[in-house]
């Protein structure tokens, strides 16, 4: 009984019967209509959900026969697993969407009901002509529902849609009949079985007509202007169902007919790729919310159009399920949610979305939807893309990976830009959006995304519950958002200590050391967050996610876990930077570079998996000589994330413009994750002989970064920017140390990591204290603070000494180790650069102390006091760390060395020398003394140069007359030596991208007739590209 009541055929009985009866219910009363309507939708949802449940438990696909006969005589339908996912997804969305529709007249309700039924018909039917009928049902319902908005532009857009889709469905009709003429079959399964008999000009034209219709209904670039216009002007709930539901039906039609298009698979994917890249490119230039969503919708469907034929060609059935299902569900829930949100906000222009700024709940949902649509974890799109890329790599389809990732990056760019616009506090409090109940379905979509994301993650192979610990902690904190700030911060610290400890307990070796370092460093620096008592909506949950993700990264065993946690860190730190709305543009830059970096890692892992057939990170250790590409990809990604010279442009803005405590976290702690990645990734380099040369390149990049960073730091007038560049410079040392690929190099790297963490933590907190007390950031406006902030001055001085590499503090040991390791390896060039960079480092560090703490007081306020205790405690703890490292170096070096030993024990690189031998091999004092002397000589020389007036002549810079102080002179030199090439390069790239987007979108003239002409040409292009010329001019 239950079986027959929940049989999928009943979807159609309920849909049609309900639709026909709605006018009768209307005569019974208005509430009857709404009740019957919702009941019918709920019944369809239940039926499809039950089918999904049964099929997931291994039942055979459910055949639906009609007309009392078997196919091919009668029309049959099928509810398989894929069908049930699509049907259930669409039904769920439709049920939630009923909240917006139910208040309309009964005509709208019956159209909506039949539309939802029609989409499922498209999904389930196995008869080609029946597919056409359902396509028409869906189309006509769409045309009618679009009439709900009667603004002139909406009417025009609908008419364009009408013209285009009527043309497209005529193609379908012609194709179906021509196919019948060629084969005498309408049943899809039989057609597929008789694929080989579809030949000749008629068979070929039939296939192209069918394909053209399906692709056109998915709105391919450039024949999609009509679709965009409709997305822009339609009522948002109608646009939502078009984007999520109608596209789903059409796409499923394409999916089930794919076996017919065996000769055109690649062509379909190419057309999908063109649409994917161009729609996301033009999306960059959009200023209207719904049009933007339109471009994104088209892009998402195009991504599916790329994935499906390629996976079909690769015969990757298992992957197809996760990829197509995941991408579809992700697009469905996220896009529908965004469209509904657009309706709720009711603002056309993106700038006006600032009305959301003071509504943390809505912002959270908006954030979830944006993250999901960008294909980031923990949502289904992420797992699907992961699986897609892995599968493509296994099939050697690397170009496709690049296309998918480029398009995704573009999409993330405009999506997150939109998000940051919504965070800008409005100048004046706008009228609040009305109707809180309208938010309910949007929240529903966010929840569905979370749930489906979890399931997809499990499917993709992320079984480890610990990986979700950061998110769980974030959720807990979100629940506690009503507590006072300090309390929340304390809870974060407690949760993170407990959770973090449990995360790292099972670790050992390098991973344990890093996890320990990241966890402890994060906790100590985060104490500074207590200094702010103001409510910071969203801050503490994000902080919890971030702090727990850090120690979770070394726990990752597979590349999937690694990327997952990596993206969590990226996202949480991005949102933390975004907490300060002034930092929005820098945060976006940070995010985009981070995503690009992650994409390189993804590629590296994909190649690795294709080579070793393993997703385990340990595959990195056994990879052979072919793995040079893996190393190069990993290194590029990690160097971007580390802010190496050339790709450092994101770094100063993000570090300098974030909230002060976030800056400290970014520079001291988060920057180390890329270093951890490098350590993990360089196994491959050691294994593959080729990569050792690449390692030298990496070493040079590291040293250039150090030098450029130091010079850029010395040029800065802004306190935090100076520290930001200093951070870049210090990371350069670490990169170079890792690049040494030797035991000593790695010991050095870890030592430097610890040192930099301590030092930069202190210095950014010092900056925070200074900004808090004086409200000023420009170094020239500060001065003489040593007297009023003695403790801060002391910690700053200790940190500076430790960083500069002067004895007796830890930096000295670090520099010494680095120079020793370079000399050991014979890297004299980089060693020389180390010396040079040390000299430049002295300049800015001296200035930091001199200009801020010594010198004359410039700050007008007299009532300056010492920094608050909450800022001092973490500094003092970090100072204690410095002392510990400085005076008991073995405490750190011994475990480091021990942890590293296994990696090198079996290689030629490590000569088997014990640590003591190295200690004795190089006497540190002379080396450092030499470094100091060289610096002094250089400075002296420069001073002479300046004095004599030669310099002005050489540099052709007018200094003499003005303020020819030593610093000004140096600044001029550094400015000359660090031309803004990188800025120019990336800025130019961005300008070129937006300019091309601007030009390309001129294709969309807005004229419906022109759009129809595009459609004809699209068909012709398809015909020719599919190989149709041979039918026009038969050669035989």
């Amino acid at each position: 009984m239950v079986e027959s009541l929940l049989h999928p055929l009943n979807i159609f009985i309920v849909g049609l019967g309900g639709g026909f009866l709605i006018p009768l219910f209307y005569r019974l009363g208005k509430s009857w209509v709404a009740a019957a309507f919702v009941l019918a939708l709920a019944a369809m949802t239940l039926i499809s959900g039950y089918a999904l449940f049964v099929l997931l438990n291994g039942a055979a696909p459910i055949e639906i026969l009609t007309g009392g006969a078997k196919p091919p005589y009668a029309i049959n339908l099928r509810m398989g697993l894929a069908e049930s996912i699509f049907a259930f997804g669409v039904n769920l969305v439709a049920l939630f969407g009923a909240a917006y529709v139910a208040r309309e007249g009964y005509g709208t309700l019956l159209l909506y009901l039949l539309l939802v039924m029609g989409i499922q018909g498209m999904v389930m039917t196995r008869d080609l002509f029946n597919l056409f009928v359902f396509l028409e049902i869906v189309s006509i319902a769409t045309y009618a529902l679009l009439g709900l908005r009667d603004a002139p532009e909406a009417l025009s857009a609908t008419f364009k849609l009408l013209m285009a889709t009527v043309l497209a469905s005529t193609f379908f009709l012609i194709g179906t009949l021509l196919l019948y003429a060629a084969t005498g079959i309408l049943n899809i399964d039989e057609l597929i079985a008789n694929r080989s008999s579809i030949t000749g000009p008629i068979g070929f034209a039939a296939l192209i007509f069918l394909l053209a219709c399906l692709l056109l209904e998915l709105k391919p670039f450039p024949a999609n202007g009509w679709g965009l216009d409709v997305y822009e002007t339609a009522r948002s709930d109608v646009a939502a169902i078009i984007s999520g539901g109608v596209s789903a039906g059409v796409f499923f039609g394409l999916l089930k007919l794919l076996p017919l298009f065996e000769d055109q698979l690649e062509l379909i994917a190419v057309l999908g790729a063109i649409t994917f890249v161009f729609s996301n490119l033009i999306g960059l230039q959009q200023t209207k919310a719904q049009r933007l969503l339109g471009y994104s919708s088209i892009g998402q469907m195009a991504l599916l159009t790329i994935a499906a034929p390629l996976l079909y060609q690769l015969k990757a059935g298992d992957a197809m399920f996760l990829v197509v299902g995941g991408l579809f569900i992700n697009h469905l829930f996220a896009k529908v949610g965004l469209f509904w949100l657009a309706g709720y906000v009711g603002k056309e222009r993106l700038q006006d979305w600032a009305v959301l700024a003071r509504r943390p709940g809505t912002i959270l949902v908006f954030g979830i939807l944006i993250v999901a649509i960008s294909g980031l974890p923990p949502f289904p799109g992420f797992w699907a893309k992961w699986q897609l890329i892995m599968t493509l790599a296994a099939g050697d389809l690397y170009v496709w990976i690049a296309i998918v990732l480029v398009g995704s990056l573009l999409e993330a760019a405009y999506m997150f830009r939109w998000f940051s616009l919504a965070l800008h506090s409005p100048a004046e409090i706008d009228a609040e959006p009305q109707g809180q109940s309208d938010l309910f379905p949007i929240f529903g979509m966010a929840l569905l995304l979370v749930a489906s994301g979890y399931l997809a993650g499990e499917l993709a192979g992320l079984a480890a519950p610990w990986a979700y610990m950061p998110l769980a902690a974030g959720l807990v904190l979100y629940m506690l958002a009503r507590l006072p700030s300090g309390m929340q911060c304390l809870i974060v610290l407690i949760l993170v200590s407990a959770g973090g400890t449990s995360l790292i307990l099972s670790l050992s070796g390098i991973n344990f050391l890093f996890a320990m370092l990241l966890l402890a460093g994060g906790l100590v620096v985060s104490i500074a967050c207590l200094a702010r008592a103001d409510p910071r909506p969203g801050f503490y949950p994000l902080l919890a996610v971030m702090l727990l993700s850090l120690p979770a990264l070394p726990r990752a065993m597979t590349s999937l876990e690694f990327i997952f946690i990596w993206e969590l860190i990226t996202l949480s730190s991005y949102f933390l930077i975004l907490q300060r709305t002034e930092a929005a543009s820098h945060a976006l830059q940070y995010l985009l570079f981070s995503l690009a970096a992650a994409f390189f890692l993804l590629c590296a892992f994909a190649v690795l998996q294709a080579q070793t057939d393993s997703v385990s990170l340990s595959a990195l250790r056994v990879a052979g000589p072919d793995s040079a590409p893996v190393f190069v990809l990993l290194a590029i990604g990690l160097l971007i994330k580390a802010g190496a010279v050339g790709v450092h442009v994101w770094l100063p803005g993000a570090y300098a413009e974030a909230d002060d405590d976030v800056s400290a976290l970014l520079s001291a702690v988060i920057s180390k994750v890329s270093i951890f990645g490098l350590l993990v990734g360089t196994y491959v380099a050691i294994r593959s002989e080729v990569s050792l040369n690449l390692a030298l390149v990496m070493g040079w990049i590291g040293m250039l970064t150090t030098l450029a960073g130091a010079m850029l730091a010395a040029r800065q007038d802004d306190l935090k920017r100076m520290l930001a560049y200093s951070s870049m410079s210090q990371l350069g040392y670490i990169v170079a140390a890792i690049a040494l690929m030797s035991h000593l190099g790695w010991v050095t790297a870890l030592y430097l990591v610890a040192n930099h963490l301590l030092v930069k933590g202190i210095l950014f907190l010092v900056a925070a204290a200074i900004i808090l007390r004086t409200g000023k950031r420009l170094i020239v406006e500060l001065g003489g603070l040593a007297g009023v902030m003695p403790v801060t001055f002391t910690t700053a001085a200790i940190a500076i000494v430790a960083m500069s590499g002067l004895p007796p503090l830890a930096g000295f040991g670090g520099k010494w180790l680095l120079l020793s390791a370079m000399i050991e390896k014979g890297w004299y060039g980089p060693a020389l650069m180390t010396l040079l960079a040390t000299f430049v480092g002295f300049v800015y560090m001296a200035r930091f102390i001199q200009a801020i703490f010594l010198g004359p007081r410039k700050a007008a306020r007299d009532a300056l006091t010492e920094a608050p205790i909450t800022l001092l405690i973490p500094q003092i703890l970090l100072v204690a760390g410095i002392f510990l490292m400085s005076f008991f170096p073995k405490l750190l070096i011994a475990p480091i060395s021990e942890a590293i030993d296994p990696q090198f024990a079996s290689t030629l690189v490590w000569q088997g020398m014990s640590l003591e031998m190295i200690y004795g091999y190089w006497n540190p004092v002379p080396v450092m003394a030499f470094a100091v002397i060289v610096s002094a000589i250089l400075l002296g020389l420069f001073w002479l140069l300046l004095r004599s007036g030669w310099w002005a002549a050489i540099a052709r810079v007018e200094i003499g007359g003005m303020r020819s102080s030593l610093y000004q002179g140096l600044k001029t030199v550094f400015t000359m030596l660090t031309p803004p090439w990188a800025q120019g390069l990336w800025g130019g790239l961005a300008t070129a991208t937006t300019a091309s987007a601007e030009r390309i979108r001129m294709l969309y003239t807005g004229n419906g007739q022109t759009y129809n002409l595009y459609i004809l040409y699209y068909f012709l292009a398809l015909y020719i590209a599919g190989g149709g010329l041979r039918h026009l001019w038969p050669t035989d």
Binding site: P152, S156, Y180, N1007, Q1009
Partner: protein, 119 residues
């Protein structure tokens, strides 16, 4: 032979419809273009179903049950044509309804006047 003539007629009608919808500015004429294209398609359908020397697949005194298989035309395209005609009519009705609304909005039927959204 007969079916080729009908097929050509249908295809020509489609071409004429396409030409009309692309060259005429008046929305009503564009709708007529679509209708022509639709009619052409229906003719093509009928042409496809034709069997040499066949008659309508209706069993009566003119066509006995035993000889039906050899003398009837293909019934499937005819059945599909019925559906296609109804759907074509439905679409035309919707187009005309929108044409009325467009005229009311702008007091013109020129397709060039309806380019509000673009890019």
């Amino acid at each position: 032979m007969i079916s080729s003539i009908v097929l050509t007629t249908g295809l020509l009608l489609i071409l004429i419809g396409l030409w009309g919808m692309l060259t005429h500015r008046n929305i009503l004429r564009i709708v007529i273009g679509f209708s022509l294209m639709g009619t052409g398609t229906h003719i093509v359908i009928v042409a496809i179903g034709y069997v040499a020397n066949g008659t309508a697949p209706i069993i009566d005194h003119a066509l006995s049950l035993s000889e039906a298989a050899s003398r009837a035309v293909d019934p499937i395209p005819s059945a599909l044509a019925v559906t296609a005609i109804v759907i074509g009519m439905a679409v035309t009705a919707v187009m005309l309804a929108y044409a009325i609304r467009l005229y009311e909005a702008k007091r013109t039927l020129s397709i060039d006047a309806f380019t509000e959204s673009k890019w």
